[in-house]
């Protein structure tokens, strides 16, 4: 077997957790149990999990507004995530961050980021810490096709190249920046942009966990060995709207049905591992059930949990007026 049983099991468990987590967040949002804006990651699971499978808590990731999947893949506690997304006192950020600002520094999760293109400059800083302090870790920024158009991302690529930072730039091209397609909004090609800075960048099928896993392995090895930054552009898709409740009027006739039928990374994974004889269907089904039970437990805890105390309004900022 090319992959260990442990990896195959944990990768699928994490991917199905993300899928079911997002589907449940949609339900809870529609039921009025989640305030604010929520952007789901369902459809892109193979990218976050394929990359984060190579990382430890000492490696740092910087995420996006579509960050739940990255958090789960990096090992954040899903119950504490649910509490955070519901705005409860015991959430990962005491209920003060919400879906778009989940961070878990202890897990090397530097934060979801509600500013498109906000993360890569910060990941350069994390990579600079690693380089300066002589640690063999890597910083990974997740960006979309949308943020590939932000100046901050171009500046970050340049500075990472200038300073030879151990920064792995992961571009998840889901072909939609809100409701605008990359064919319209991205002049040229994302991977070519990265290469223009002298940074190697590979294109990968983002619906194929194993393709992402192998590409990330190569990239992270490059970064850890002091050779400077590396990039990948993953061709991927999202199954839901830009935000929960998005009517997705930008989708073509039958587009979503086609994507779900033919480009579902979980289905593709199941077909591969059963076809190779690495895992059987009942084992995969069991992992689905385990993930569902964990999410159910978290949701029930979240629904019953307390709101933050009023004093929290004033805490964790150096001074208040």
């Amino acid at each position: 077997m090319a992959y260990s049983k442990e990896l195959l099991t944990s990768a699928y468990y994490t991917m199905t957790t993300i899928r079911q987590f997002e589907e449940r967040m949609i339900k809870e949002f529609m039921a009025g149990n989640i305030p604010g804006f929520v952007h789901t990651y369902d459809g892109q699971e193979a990218v976050g999990v394929g990359v984060c499978s190579h990382l430890s808590d000492d490696d740092i990731i910087g995420s996006t507004h579509r960050g739940h999947g990255h958090c789960i893949a990096k090992g954040c506690d899903i119950e504490l995530m649910i509490l955070e997304i519901m705005g409860k006192a015991e959430g990962l950020c005491k209920g003060k961050g919400g879906s778009m600002h989940i961070a878990d520094i202890d897990k090397g999760m530097l934060g979801a980021n509600a500013i498109v293109g906000g993360g890569p400059p910060l990941c350069n800083g994390a990579a600079l810490s690693m380089k300066t302090l002589g640690k063999p870790h890597v910083a990974v920024s997740f960006s979309g096709d949308g943020s590939s158009n932000q100046g901050t991302v171009m500046e970050s690529l340049n500075l990472a190249g200038v300073l030879d930072l151990p920064h792995f730039f992961v571009f998840e091209n889901n072909h939609l920046a809100e409701g605008t397609g990359d064919e319209y909004a991205v002049a040229g090609d994302i991977a070519e942009r990265v290469r223009a800075f002298g940074i190697p960048c590979d294109k990968v099928d983002g619906t194929d966990f194993f393709a992402v896993y192998e590409a990330a392995k190569k990239a992270i090895k490059h970064c850890r060995s002091g050779k400077g930054p590396y990039g990948i552009e993953a061709d991927v898709l999202r199954f839901d709207g830009h935000f929960i409740g998005d009517p997705q009027a930008y989708r073509g006739e039958g587009e979503l049905d086609d994507l779900r039928a033919n480009r579902d990374c979980l289905k593709i994974y199941r077909e591969r591992v059963t076809g190779e004889g690495w895992m059987d269907t009942s084992a995969l089904d069991k992992l689905d059930e385990d993930a569902a039970a964990a999410i159910e437990k978290g949701v029930q805890r979240g629904l019953a949990a307390a709101q933050p105390a009023m004093e929290e309004l004033y805490s964790d900022v150096y001074c208040s007026y």
Partner: protein, 348 residues
Amino acid sequence: MSQADAAAPANAHPNKTFREAINEALHQEMERDSTVIVMGEEVAGGAGCKGSDEAYGGVFGLTKGLGPRFGRERVIDTPITESAIIGAAAGAANTGLRPIAELMFVDFIGVCFDQIFNQAAKFRYMFGGKARTPMVIRATAGAGLRAAAQHSSMLHPVLTHIPGLKVVMPSNAYDAKGLIISAIRDDDPVVFIEHKLLYETSCPVPDEAYTIPFGEAAFAREGSDATIVAMGAMVPRAIAVADKLAAEGIHCDVIDPRTTSPLDSEAILESVEVSGRLVVVDEANPRCGLAADISSIVAEHAFSALRAPIKCVTAPHTPVPFAPALEDAYMPGEDRIEAAVRAVLGGR
């Protein structure tokens, strides 16, 4: 500088310029703590060129000597890329370093404001207290060098408005050294504003490292007839006016808040409770500025003590002009400060 320091024998400490005081503090803090790094445009200078390995040491020479002493690994010349500089400093601060990022001119916050106010300033609160962002942004500010609109602004009101940022603005070399050391050791993001006109001013500055706490105003002069609050390069001007009036028997408190966030409003209120008369001097533009803010605090909390309307002496609400005659008129001068003090004193 407090009254006690001003009264100390002139030879107690060597005279140093504002620039030398900050440079000395940077050397001492980098020596003390290997996680302190300096990054920015031309902080050493000459990277990728054939000439000197320290072509600048900062465009105003503030970081001179750091590169040769601590090496380019800790004194990092960056491209002209403000968002990437501030972002890298913030991310490095979250992960074990204490970066000092130089923003050559404070006007350039325009190109990196997201990384300051949406990122660095919000991390601690937004992430439920888990993130620390011990970074300093050093920036040159202010008019007076004929540098015109895009290199002369005073933007401390914009920065003071942002919860999560600390904003420091020393007015003399002694305070500059103590405050920059406090800023480096602070666990919150600090914006440290250096007025160009102060770089070559000097006063006695101890050789050893020392800290000055944030949120504690200094009384540059003391007197019960009127209260003058002034910041940055306006402090020497306010002192000159106070000294002139003192010769006539009019004695003023000259309060230098030293940090605009946190602001020592208590010191201001206590002074106004005694004097009943307030002049606020600030080089920033007037609308939603520090002078307006301090006036509002006094009007809200010490209204009954006021014996005359508050006077604000600020720049006009315009960009900084280039023509020397216009720029001189733009900056609050001693004549305008003196007229304001006489006005609150009822024309004395």
